[in-house]
Symmetry: C2
Subunit: 446 residues, 2 copies
Amino acid sequence: MKAISKTNEAVYERACNVLTGGVSRNTIFRKPHPYYVATAKGSYITDIEGVERIDFANNMASLIHGHSHPAITEAVTDQLKKGTAFTLGTEAEVKFAEHMIARSGTFERMRFVNSGTEAVMTMLKTSRVYTKKPKIAKAEGAYHGTYDYAEVSQTSNPENWGSIDKPNSNRVVDGTPQGVLDDVIIYPFNDIERTLNILNEYADEIACVLIDPVPHRVGLFPATEEFIRAIYNWTRANDALMVFDEVVTYRVNYGGKQDSFSVKPDLTAMGKMIGGGFPIGALAGRADIMEVLDPRGRILRHPHSGTFSANPVSTTAGRVAMELFDQEAVLKLNALTNTAIHQIEEAIKIADVPISIVGAGSMFRLHLQKNKPKSYREAYQTKEKKGLINELLDYMFLKENIIMINTGACMFATSLTQKEVDRLSEGLLNGFKLLKPKLHRLVGVY
Amino acid sequence: MKAISKTNEAVYERACNVLTGGVSRNTIFRKPHPYYVATAKGSYITDIEGVERIDFANNMASLIHGHSHPAITEAVTDQLKKGTAFTLGTEAEVKFAEHMIARSGTFERMRFVNSGTEAVMTMLKTSRVYTKKPKIAKAEGAYHGTYDYAEVSQTSNPENWGSIDKPNSNRVVDGTPQGVLDDVIIYPFNDIERTLNILNEYADEIACVLIDPVPHRVGLFPATEEFIRAIYNWTRANDALMVFDEVVTYRVNYGGKQDSFSVKPDLTAMGKMIGGGFPIGALAGRADIMEVLDPRGRILRHPHSGTFSANPVSTTAGRVAMELFDQEAVLKLNALTNTAIHQIEEAIKIADVPISIVGAGSMFRLHLQKNKPKSYREAYQTKEKKGLINELLDYMFLKENIIMINTGACMFATSLTQKEVDRLSEGLLNGFKLLKPKLHRLVGVY
């Protein structure tokens, strides 16, 4: 059976008989059916029907060099012949840790896991052990993986989010125990006064304040220097930790988004791009905190292992990818992204549509509103807006052959060039024009 | 720099400067330093100092065909050229799911994740959504990964385990919130009367009874048919689910350990060997329960994704590995393991030591006691026994060049032959003789 004889629809039909909803992750779901990859190289993906598309999603920001980068493919191919997983160590994990610690001012010790979800979970558990306190504070709307304590209020909406002075702790998954909600405190991102008031109320119980410094689902605008400094000072005064989720944002600077701030997190969770295209997560930070994980301690305060953690395939691919993403590569990629943002802003002007664009480093997100949103609640997509974004993304995918992220975001890779950026901004200009009548009707409503 | 010039000690010294405790997972830690793999093929691992050892640990049961199996290496090498991760689907995930559902009578729908930890977490969350109840019941001493709710009482000891009629819910990681302990009910494995009494006390609140059908840390003896049937009947009567953790035990029969029982679990979590040596986890089970994960529903009851979930490398390697592990291969491997068990029992007789051996399928574990343990508390290793097991394992590793799992267990791979089994039983005989005087002194104490 040749791939050419298959259609995306036919594969999805088979998928529906074996996978719930026909997909193994909701990310790839689209109506009437998802698309299936035959092959991908750099920034181009060809599906099983032979259609080639430009990839601005890069597996939700996880491929910093695009697809099948030759140096990564070569290093992994070499490792495959030597084995992929052992009950012993490999030098690959040591070399990768050495690289990451050398590039990041705040990393003294680290540990690898298998995903961003596991990295955040390990970080929150480590914070509780170190501080001997049970509660976590996190931003309304922020996505931090699927650990119950990390996902509270990620999908809060106008009907359940409550007062902005004290946002509600809401379940994301039905059946989340009440105990989880009781131990997660929700703060409004970048809102210093309200956040400090909320934190003060639980000062004795908060183990850590969890911050994604450019939270995608909140709106993809960066934390302000003032906000980070306020949280830092509060945590110093209240025996709590300030911990960053840089699973997505580590790409923003050479040493992560944290490089932008005058004060630094105590612990950092990573994932996505640091695996070079393979499953990974990592926790890094102050040695005195990470020590709670040390198996040489008199008692095991936080026994931590994981069958595939630090496997030599993910750590080899990750090291090669990160070595290639050097200071110069970071600046070049951010500059290209900046060019794209300017071109898209120009397209917004030409089309004369109430759309704004926000982001940081090599990422941006479109919002269907004239003024850039400054909070989760301002950026919140109503059902109508979500419908229009989906229309735009469908148009881009099906007519312009351009893949974006389902929120209306792009996460760049070093395999992109000015040529693809031009295709993106031209495609978006066409899309904006198509959307314009509906958008103006919608904005009229609000 | 050539690998030959490096020592295990020197690499560990570097590791201590970057990784907490010098390791990224406690599993590989050993005093005075871990060992680092240069290359591995089949059942042989060569470390960076050039020492070759026979591998009976297989990365904690995750390599069912040993290291660098040519068919897996070839399939993955081919996939690498086509890309490793996308925001779109691949046929690889569909083909693998089709294989797993065809081989397992109880699987109607499934989803892939990145590790056994994630698989168990997703299973427990799915159980809560479906039943609308908050509590989990799990066996004292059983290991199910690092999700807080799954790890409660995994390390219970005589000082904190409480009455066997109502085992305590104990923290494994310091700082685990009280809410977690309140929502996890501990039962004594294979003890029908006590377990049912405990479950009855919380009948209205239990979402699922979590069972590893051959729990390694409990002692690696199988659940009895009667116990499984009792739990099954109780869950039917009380609107709860019976869910299996087969991350380790799926290897026992062609369709998992569950093939052995007359009643079947509603959901099954998998991991380890089904990834063919690459990071994976999976959740499978009844379609009507799995439906809570369906993104096509009117409301998202359990939104579920994951950046690397169902990536084409893990799903390709997994499918190839599982296709090779066909009915015949399973029986052949179990027969070889059985031969090993008989030879080791013979060695125990010859050495005349108070040691017993238990297991199932392609796994077994040694216990430093004459009679086979039947419960976690009977199998519990005191500090003295743990010390002797470590002495035995060190002897095997350093003098016999044989790698076992740190509890005194072996998990076989199809790459093993009678030759390696003879080496194992001869090595153990030598080890038993060395241990004998200390063992007799210890048994005298108890």
